[in-house]
């Protein structure tokens, strides 16, 4: 803003004008007194960003690009800094307040009784413990066709293969789970199965019956998937009704 603009130009408040100059920028107490809330603040913020973007586009040396986004500085950087600050603060808080725990040093010359991978690989480790599912074939005289460990490794291929096939079966056109209840149920069952098979991997540490745990590993995904399907199928009628009502209010049918 410069001082040589005409004095009689009205200040527009509909968002089309120039953003308030520095000497009109409200103080913190004035901002607080407005009490218009976060929605207003968000609106002003994005309106200002949009205005800056528009000013940039009208500059003579501006090169049009195919990028439609907010600039990295300050928008994205401020957002990312606040997120990073939160996690750094959480680490500092926990390390300052939790009691220190320094276990005995590991003995590199002996293998512990319980060995486990990192937690995010528990699902794969759990698939190695499917021994009761490995069928004993009568045609082979009660022999198993393959060793339990081979069976567990092949089970990994089945799970990974299913995950690889899903994008070809469903193109992901639904924007909300309620629009495709069946596939939402498949997703929920998969997430629950990832958790239960991970718990099966640490069955030595689980304070419950191992046989029950094994059964629940496969039953819980089915139960949760069925409940999800039932709930979403019930919701979908009302959802589509609301969608149609809003759509046709906007554009009445001919």
């Amino acid at each position: 803003m410069s001082d040589n603009e005409p004095e009689n130009e009205e200040i527009r408040t509909d968002g089309t004008g120039i953003v308030a100059p520095d000497n009109e920028t409200p103080t913190w107490s004035e901002r607080k007194a407005r009490k218009t809330g976060l929605s207003r603040l968000t609106y002003e913020y994005f309106e200002r960003a949009r205005r800056e973007d528009q000013d940039l586009r009208t500059e003579s040396d501006y090169v049009e690009r195919d990028v439609l986004a907010f600039p990295t500085w300050p928008h994205e950087t401020v957002r990312n800094l606040s997120i990073a600050s939160f996690f750094v603060g959480m680490i500092l808080f926990l390390s300052a307040t939790m009691p220190p725990h320094i276990g005995p040093p590991a003995n590199p010359s002996s293998t512990p009784a319980i060995i486990l991978p990192d937690w995010y690989l528990y699902w794969s480790f759990g698939l190695l413990k499917l021994n009761p599912l490995n069928p004993e074939l009568a045609i082979l005289g009660g022999q198993k066709i393959m060793a339990d460990r081979t069976y567990g490794v092949l089970a990994n291929g089945v799970v990974v293969g299913f995950i690889a096939i899903v994008p070809f079966l469903n193109k992901g056109s639904a924007r909300r789970p309620v629009e495709q209840p069946f596939w939402a149920a498949v997703g929920v069952a998969g997430v629950v199965f990832a958790m239960t098979i991970s718990l099966l991997a640490v069955k030595n540490l689980m304070p419950m019956n191992v046989d029950l745990l094994f059964d629940l590993t496969f039953l819980l995904p089915i139960v949760f998937g069925t409940v999800t399907y039932a709930v979403l199928k019930t919701m979908s009628e009302g959802y589509m009704y609301n969608l149609n009502r809003r759509y046709y209010r906007l554009r009445p049918p001919k």
């Binding site: 307040t97 939790m98 009691p99 540490l205």
Partner: protein, 93 residues
């Protein structure tokens, strides 16, 4: 509705974090235990005024987290539903 959700979530996570920190002092013999945070009080937890305050706060935070989430996620929305249902019934008559 979104306001009530974030109030309940804020109470649950904030109060739950404070409970977790205190319970890691008073109800955890080892971080490798399968009953950490829910063990009986460790010995010496009731000796001295600061330990008594800590144990009291631990229980207070736990109940605040549970009851706060219950209030904002279940009781208040249910109350709104009941009020609007009563209003509709009154209007229908």
């Amino acid at each position: 509705m979104a306001d009530e959700f974030i109030k309940g979530l804020g109470i649950l996570t904030g109060s739950g974090l404070a409970w977790m920190v205190l319970a890691s002092w008073y109800r955890t013999s080892s971080f490798e235990s399968t009953k950490q945070l829910i063990e009986p009080l460790s010995s010496g937890a009731t000796e001295g005024i600061f330990n008594i305050i800590g144990v009291t706060l631990m229980d207070a935070f736990l109940w605040f987290a549970l009851l706060g989430a219950l209030t904002f996620w279940v009781l208040i929305p249910a109350g709104h539903q009941i009020m609007s249902a009563l209003q509709e019934r009154r209007n229908a008559q």
